[in-house]
Amino acid sequence: MAAIYSLYIINKSGGLIFYKDYGSKGRMDTNDSLRVASLWHSMHAISQQLSPTTGCSGIELLEADTFDLHCFQSLTGTKFFVVCEPGTQHMEALLKIIYELYTDYVLKNPFYEMEMPIRCELFDINLTQAIQKDRVALSGR
């Protein structure tokens, strides 16, 4: 069944501000997740330079044989990417929903410092609900 393995949110300088894993596969300890985040940040930046055409906004989808990686970059440079099973549908829509949750429950929180790791209870609760809803919707199809 199509499933999400993990979700990463990185700030505009490439530092990991949020990491959550959802499956038994792809589980990482703190150091590894930090490394993956900065690795992805650099790859994303390099791909913008590699593009033969101008106006490239970076990698949106990476397909490998054991996983897919969908990435969404906001206008401010914050990147949301999700590692999932190959062939999972509607990840872009999910990333947009997560972005909306971020703007609501993280950015409107007066106790959140910009570019710092996210420690907002409401964000966690609503994120879990969104992922749950997505999982149910996917299994229904």
């Binding site: 609501d104 429950y105 409107k108 929180n109 007066p110 106790f111 420690r119 907002c120 209870e121 609760i125």
Partner: protein, 194 residues
């Protein structure tokens, strides 16, 4: 110029009728503004009690003005003299105008005669706010407590108003209670009025 003649010009701005105003304000705009208010006050104080007091004072100013406006606009300049009257005014009219709905419940305190509680599942001002663990029992609803105190003070019912989180079984988020403790003179006056 077309249309200019249609607007009635008032010679004195005080003669202009008080309009109902825009009924709706962007929630996001308010959330960001309130977030900035909290952040600004955090830089000015050393401890949480001070921060709560500052938010309450900010709310007090709002409450005093809201009372004047609503008495004129919604109640036809009638003045509430009874305790239950002013409480239901706060619980319904003030809440409706400020938050778009009446408060969830209004209860009388069981332990003390002078305590009343207005409860709300989730205060509008707290909708996007997650309190970090190290801030303990701090509640940004202190702003709303200040508004209620401003309304009650202006109406002649001095009280001490505080906002508390009350954990509920079976629910992840605690509900918020605005606790109103009236001053001695209010209760004596209420007893005299019978």
């Amino acid at each position: 110029m077309i249309g200019v003649g249609k607007i009635k010009q008032y010679s004195n701005i005080l003669d202009k009728p008080l309009s109902k105003g825009k009924q709706e304000v962007s929630l996001s705009a308010f959330a960001f503004l309130f977030s900035e208010l909290v952040q600004y006050n955090q830089t000015q104080v050393d401890n949480i009690a001070e921060l709560e007091r500052r938010l309450e004072d900010a709310g007090y100013a709002v409450g005093a003005r809201v009372l004047e406006l609503l008495c004129h606009r919604d109640k036809g300049n009638r003045r509430e003299t009874r305790l239950l009257g002013i409480l239901s005014f706060v619980h319904s009219t003030v809440w409706k105008v400020l938050f778009g709905k009446v408060a969830d419940s209004l209860e009388k305190g069981t332990e003390h005669e002078d305590e009343y509680m207005i409860s709300e599942k989730e205060l509008l001002v707290n909708k996007f706010i997650s309190i970090p663990k190290d801030m303990g029992t701090f509640n940004c609803g202190a702003f709303v407590a200040g508004i209620v105190r401003g309304v009650l003070d202006g109406a002649g019912f001095p009280a001490v108003v505080t906002a508390h989180f009350v954990p509920m079984e079976g629910q992840q988020r605690p509900r918020t209670t605005i606790l109103i403790k009236f001053a001695e003179e209010v209760l004596r006056r209420e007893a005299r009025l019978g």
